[in-house]
């Protein structure tokens, strides 16, 4: 049974769709809180702007270094307007992983001496190897750029699919598989427990079930047919 569980889990894991998004790093800017502020983030040179559903999640490994690049620029609010684009002060580039609605991890890059400008690039380097020992699976990642006062100028949420080595190589999925196997064994041995259950007294005529009429007391004399010969569970 444990083997069957492992095989089925491996089959489910193999059925996970592969990532089809090949959005190039160029372009892909999305507006922020202000329509004049356009931002973009790349995860190891891949733009995850379309990775918002579990089937399109960006496949990653929680091993090695990850480079997240934040790029922003300002444009004139009205197209065709010849006025110069507004300036923004981006002080903080933030990365958050959400799990059960709570941030599992937060990384920030503060821009020292940030001044108002019409564009910029911020690089955030992150080594999530420690998470790779414990976790795998789908996680929502929110990247955002903030002002010195903490106001969000731009944010983008996308999904990543962190795969564990050999599907269950991280600690949490391995422990979960062990728990499932242990509980299945617990259910499989329920029959032993049932032998110690007290029998319920039955009303009416005897039904002839073996457990209600212990066969050890049935044959009183040699050659006598036991009372359970009518099929066991038939009521008159």
């Amino acid at each position: 049974m444990a083997l069957a569980v492992l095989i089925s889990i491996a089959g489910v894991g193999a059925a996970v769709p592969t990532h089809a998004s090949t959005t190039p790093a160029t372009g892909g800017f999305t507006p922020g809180v202000s329509p004049s502020f356009l931002g973009r983030v790349t995860w190891n040179n891949v733009n995850p702007v379309n990775d918002t559903s579990p089937s399109d999640a960006l496949p990653i490994h929680f091993s090695g270094n990850i480079t997240i690049q934040y790029t922003w620029k300002s444009v004139s609010a009205v197209s065709g307007n010849q006025s110069p684009p507004p300036t923004f002060t981006v002080y903080d580039a933030r990365l958050q992983i959400f799990f059960f609605g709570f941030p599992l991890a937060t990384r920030d890059v503060d821009v020292s001496g940030a001044v108002a400008s019409t564009g910029g690039v911020i690089n955030l380097s992150w080594d999530p190897t420690t998470y790779g020992y414990v976790l795998a699976g789908l996680y929502a990642i929110t990247t955002s750029m903030l002002t010195p006062t903490g106001t969000t100028l731009w944010s983008q949420t996308f999904l990543v699919d962190a795969s564990a080595p050999l599907l269950i190589g991280a600690a949490l999925p391995a422990v979960l598989v062990i728990i499932v196997i242990a509980e299945l064994y617990y259910v499989a041995t329920a029959g032993r427990e049932a032998l110690h259950e007290p029998l319920k007294p039955k009303k009416g005529p005897p039904t002839g079930e073996p457990e209600t009429t212990p066969p050890a007391s049935a044959p009183a004399s040699p050659g006598e047919t036991p009372p359970a010969t009518d099929g066991g569970a038939k009521s008159p």
């Binding site: 489910v12 894991g13 059960f100 609605g101 999925p173 509980e183 029959g191 457990e211 036991p226």
Partner: protein
């Protein structure tokens, strides 16, 4: 605890763990708080029903088998004193 109760209790755990395992295998995403709770609730209920039924069946089969073996043991001791064959119970 009855076999059905034992199966239902294990089914609750299995249902919740399977949902969490599905997230770890990349089949479900738990970005917010309420949707996973619904998944966990459904997993626990379905697990309790399914494994409760499995425990019930396993328990009945075990008791029937034990009754059969006890009856055969009694028959064996009886036939030692009498060569007359008897009909075994149809289980």
């Amino acid at each position: 605890m009855t076999a059905a109760g034992r199966g239902a209790g294990a089914g609750v755990v299995i249902g919740i763990v399977i949902v969490l395992l599905a997230q770890q295998l990349g089949l479900l995403e738990f970005a917010n708080f309420t949707v996973p709770l619904i998944y966990f609730l459904l997993g626990a209920i379905l697990g309790a029903i399914v494994f409760g039924a499995i425990g019930l069946v396993i328990g009945r089969r075990a008791r029937r088998k034990a009754g059969m073996e006890a009856w055969q043991g009694a028959q064996a001791s009886d036939t030692a004193s009498s060569p007359t064959p008897t009909t075994p119970p149809k289980n």
